[in-house]
């Protein structure tokens, strides 16, 4: 039980997928200008990533491994994720057109979000079982959403700051992301404590 908790906690805080593993920076920088869209993107990614982790585990264990074609893993995972993203896009377009427009290019980009591919691959590397895979996927995406939402909160405020012109926009956002990453280093070692 505790080990499952540590899987989640580790994925959310200690090894935060964006701030510590530095995965998924594209949507992290791109969709964090407004809190509202960040929340939407976080929810979409959480959905895709959790589902992707479960599906890829199943495909890996019940299709690829029995067939002895583990080398197709990356390829197969990309295809699965792409399909899930497509479905998600259709659902969002139907349910929230504004969110769809705002997520814009970033929604299809979830496909190429390295976090979304990286986490299922990490699952394989870490020899997680199905439940652990799901929890790790969920934890990672919650970590991603958390970082994204907090980052968006800071950026909304930074909008009014008198930032020197050369650093306006993405530049100061990168500095901020760096400092956030630094802060998250404070969690180092927590997952090793037992």
């Amino acid at each position: 039980m505790t080990s499952y908790l540590f899987v989640i906690l580790g994925a959310v805080l200690v090894n935060n997928v964006v701030l510590v593993r530095i995965l998924g920076l594209c949507p992290f920088m791109g969709v964090s200008k407004k809190l509202e869209t960040a929340v939407g993107m976080g929810a979409a990614t959480t959905f895709v990533l959790t589902l992707g982790c479960g599906t890829s585990y199943l495909v890996d264990h019940y299709v690829l491994m029995p067939a002895g074609v583990e080398y197709l893993r990356t390829l197969a995972f990309i295809v699965i994720i792409a399909a899930i993203v497509q479905v998600t896009e259709l659902v969002i377009q139907k349910s929230s057109p504004t969110l769809h427009q705002v997520l814009g290019i970033y929604l299809p980009l979830i496909t190429t979000n390295c976090a979304v591919l990286g986490v299922p691959l990490l699952n394989v590397a870490l020899h997680h079982d199905l439940l652990e895979s799901l929890l790790f996927g969920f934890g990672s995406s919650v970590g991603f959403s958390l970082a994204l939402v907090l980052f968006a909160g800071i950026r909304e405020r930074l909008d009014g700051a008198d930032v020197p012109t050369p650093f306006k926009g993405t530049a100061i956002a990168m500095v901020t992301a760096g400092l956030m990453s630094l802060a998250f280093m404070g969690f180092a070692g927590l997952d090793k404590y037992h």
Partner: protein
């Protein structure tokens, strides 16, 4: 090798079926986004954007066929709002579509007007009243300042006049953020 092919084909088939199902199930009719864009546009219907009116322009933006910086009456403020709504980067107003001007209304010179009704037909918002061979008048409060009536007038009796500020419409100025270097 064959196994690999079979596996990938199988995956592709299953996912393809899923996607096909989803695209039918979640089909979207129309685009509510156009309304939101249209709500931001100033409704001058001036056509400076290259589209016949504000709504066509909104449709073009939503469809990705037009840039957000083609509306001079909306000005920088309008572009910012569009950028905000659509999550796009702000761009300065495109020069080929015109420049931002102070808000004006058209005024008909009563002495010169011949009552030809050409301006009435040109006015997109029915802000000109009058009939054939009668004098035309512009309803200042309804004029959007689109300038579309200027060109058709055969005797050039319409001029644009900037709207004067009154005590009611006067705006407080932005407090200058100044720090005197000498202090």
């Amino acid at each position: 090798m064959l196994t690999a092919l079979l596996v990938m084909t199988g995956i592709a088939l299953v996912l393809g079926a899923l996607l096909g199902f989803a695209s039918i199930k979640f089909k979207v009719e129309g685009d509510p986004l156009v309304d939101k864009i249209d709500a931001i546009l100033p409704q001058t219907q001036c056509g400076q954007c290259g589209f016949p009116g504000c709504r066509p322009y909104a449709t073009a933006i939503a469809g990705g066929e037009a840039e957000i910086n083609q509306c001079p009456p909306g000005g920088e403020e309008g572009i910012r709002k569009l950028a905000d709504l659509l999550g796009r980067e702000f761009k300065p107003l495109s020069e080929e579509h015109g420049v931002e001007k102070p808000k004006s209304v058209a005024v008909i010179d009563e002495q010169t007007c011949i009552g030809c009704t050409l301006c009435i037909q040109a006015c997109p918002v029915d802000a000109i009243v009058g009939a054939a061979k009668q004098l035309h008048t512009i309803i200042a409060s309804e004029c959007t300042g689109c300038e579309l009536c200027l060109a058709p007038c055969p005797v050039d009796c319409i001029v644009m006049e900037p709207i004067a500020e009154t005590v009611d419409t006067w705006k407080w100025r932005y407090p200058v953020f100044e720090i005197k270097a000498a202090a």
